[in-house]
Symmetry: C2
């Protein structure tokens, strides 16, 4: 059964969304706190997509839009937090999510989409049309 990809809604929080994200990193939020995060993200214009099988969420990806001054005030899409429930990896859920987020970025007028990933995932993203561009740097704040 192929997953359906759509924008996340509040009820998804209790229907597998947080468990899917746990595949990526610890979440450790009550449903109430997660609902507050969801509202803050909506206010900031972050798009959160979910992959559903029936009414259960089996994966997610997010799209953060950033309007630049450069490139004639163009918009860049940042794909973040692509996560798939370990039981559902065979359904190509991750690629469906990234393709959907990329298509949405195009519809929303982005001139490019960028993302950061570990070396082992480069072939996955190359298969979806992405190419190596630069390096991701980070600093942890105390």
């Amino acid at each position: 059964m192929q997953p359906v990809i759509r924008e996340m809604t509040g009820p998804d929080l209790a229907l597998g969304f947080l468990e899917s994200l746990t595949a990526l990193a610890e979440v450790n939020l009550s449903f109430e706190a997660a609902a507050e995060v969801f509202r803050a993200r909506l206010r900031a214009g972050v798009r959160t997509y979910v992959a559903c099988v029936g009414d259960h969420v089996v994966g997610t990806a997010s799209l953060v839009l950033e309007q630049k001054f450069i490139h004639k005030g163009g918009k860049v899409g940042h794909i973040e937090d692509v996560a798939v429930h370990p039981d559902c990896r065979h359904l190509r859920v991750g690629s469906a999510l990234v393709e959907h987020a990329t298509q949405q970025a195009r519809k929303l007028g982005c001139y490019k989409v960028i993302l950061s990933c570990f070396e082992r995932l480069v072939p996955f993203y190359e298969g979806l049309g992405y190419r190596r561009h630069d390096l991701g740097m980070r600093i942890d704040l105390g």
Copy 2:
């Protein structure tokens, strides 16, 4: 003369801000269009910092905040569009801008700051406490 780093305001658009960004990529916006971009970025919560010598802008860096579900709903800062006017590279404007944006991210509650850069700039960012973490991928949309 050391530059002063502060949040950008509207008048900076005509005081060297757009010229500084041109060091990074073409801008090609009228002042009116740039002012509209600036307002849209403020609405989205993007912080734009400028480095000033006297009342002239000689560099800029931006900070995009993203609230996550993972890491207990923590916030990530994305540093974007660090640009310094070619005449001012000797003033260490770039490092002052990145340090300021990083400190602001800390004050705003971010648990990490990330950015993408080309290989040649890795030593610059390492000198500011950043470390290599992953790879930056991109796709260009038509």
